[in-house]
Amino acid sequence: MSDSTRFALATGLALLALLAVPWIVRNDYYLHLFIVSLIFVVVALGLNLIVGYVGQLSLAHAAFFALGAYVSALLFLKLKWSMWIGLPAAALLTGIAAFALGWVILRVRGHRFVIITVAFSEIMKLVATNWVDLTRGFMGLPGLQIPALSLPGLGAIDVSSKERFYYVVLAAAALSFYLCYRIVRSSVGRAFVLVRENEVLAESLGISAFRYCMIAFVVGAALAGAAGALYGHYVGFVSPDLFNFSYITIMLIMVILGGKGTLIGPVLGAVLFTFLPELLRDAAHYRMLIFAVILVLATLFMPRGIIFPLVEHLVPRRWRTRHVRAA
């Protein structure tokens, strides 16, 4: 059986299990966690292209997530555009913003790149906070809704309930996964990895590091923007808090501890690190302390992410894709 067939089979089985979640999980709170974790799957897949595949530590990803949320919210509230138009518009505008930012910052590397992405995030937060006429500042933008989805031949479908919105975010996560899969397995994805492993050498052999970093940066940001739009409409409210540093921290944890540079790792990371802090709620005041200890231990003992020990122990060698075998 070829790698592609194995991969398709495993993905199909996982998708079937995910389709059954609203029937199995009858608790609203846990269904909420599934929805949020799937939104963060989209975010983590996008960040993984930048951090995991071309190897650039971007701290602007939470800003792109928030920007997408604001774009869709403003289009909904000011222009009465449906979320179904606002969502692609958010992805498009966030991608354009990433292209403009990338045009400047993808020419530098290392700490300079990281610092400028932090500065961008802070500037975006200041704009969201101080452009009160547009964003209402700290008061944020309430009143966002999930409109009915009109499909040809099926009419308008109400997807505002948790059970139905779950399928919307599942479709978004599946589409994002498929997009990333196609990119990673194409010549573009191969060039990503070559740039990550040795940028000077890749350039000397004819690969434009700027071009491929730009592709990863724009696609990754567009996914974050789309996820931000979904998140804003799901929780019904966006505010400058979305730009907080805690968001980029948790996004990086999802990608790095999930297993950066793999497709499955960030997906597992997004689900695990959405559920874990919530499952620790019984520990009351010690919750974040326990979470921190788990992060430290995971970093020490699984430096390449949870995906590698999982594959090592659970997946027979002949079932592993050549990428995981090589890693």
Binding site: R190, L194, N198, E203, I207
Partner: protein, 243 residues
């Protein structure tokens, strides 16, 4: 025969330091031009200037008569001027077959895998295609660098000390390989400290000292040049090479 690669009056300055001064170079298809000189003479700086890693302060570099000295490194490689490095550069944890694909992908080859296989066969590493690049011996990594460059389908190949750190047998293999590449029509510019390799394989030799060309010509003429003996070879070493 018109030169594929030319450097005309190329100077490179880093602040107050002149690394290259008015250097001229011409390399034609099917020719091996060696650039020698003591450490710090400007040999690697010359490679960096030709391949777009640094911009010449003045002068021009031409490939097939077209100026390339303002082009970025990746575009110069796509045109057909490809280099290897003094310090071995490979795609560390990737299998050889993946790393060698880089050049073929960059050139938009319709069958990059076949191009990569061919390049590995040329240097004799086809049996190790599945290994990680960083698991190879030093000598094999030097060969891998040449395979990486060949997969990029170059017309001009700049080899920066390909035989450094190699034993006699490995050096002989490199000499044979360079000879084969010359017969295939590549223009080869070689930076090398191993005088046996240089004198065996070169059609012409150019000597740099403190960033300036002090001699250029047939290997036997260069070896006998008093300025070269004083600056680089030394009387004792000349005798040894001659012997």
């Amino acid at each position: 025969m018109s030169a594929l690669l030319e450097a005309r009056e190329v100077s490179v300055r880093f602040g107050g330091l002149t690394a290259l001064r008015d250097v001229n170079l011409a390399a034609s298809a099917g020719e091996v031009l060696s650039v020698i000189g003591p450490n710090g003479a400007g040999k690697t700086t010359l490679f960096n200037a030709i391949t777009g890693r640094i911009r010449p302060t003045q002068g021009a570099i031409l490939f097939k008569g077209r100026p390339i000295h303002r082009e970025p490194a990746f575009r110069i490689a796509q045109m057909g001027v490809v280099r290897t490095f003094q310090k071995t550069e490979v795609f560390g944890p990737l299998p050889l077959a993946e790393g060698v694909l880089a050049g073929a992908l960059a050139r938009g080859d319709t069958d990059p895998e076949a191009r990569a296989r061919e390049a590995l066969e040329t240097v004799g590493l086809q049996g190790k295609a599945h290994l990680r690049a960083d698991q190879l011996s030093y000598g094999d990594q030097r060969l891998l660098e040449i395979a990486q460059a060949l997969a990029a389908m170059p017309q001009v190949l700049l080899l920066d000390e390909p035989a450094s750190g190699m034993n006699h047998q490995e050096s002989a293999h490199i000499v044979r390989l360079i000879g084969e590449l010359r017969t295939q029509g590549f223009a080869i510019v070689l930076v090398e400290h191993n005088m046996h390799v240089v004198m065996t394989i070169s059609d012409r030799v150019m000597v740099l000292n403190y960033g300036e060309t002090i001699a250029q010509g047939h290997p036997a003429e260069v070896r006998a040049d008093p300025r070269v003996i004083e600056a680089y070879l030394g009387v004792q070493k000349t005798d040894a090479v001659a012997g």
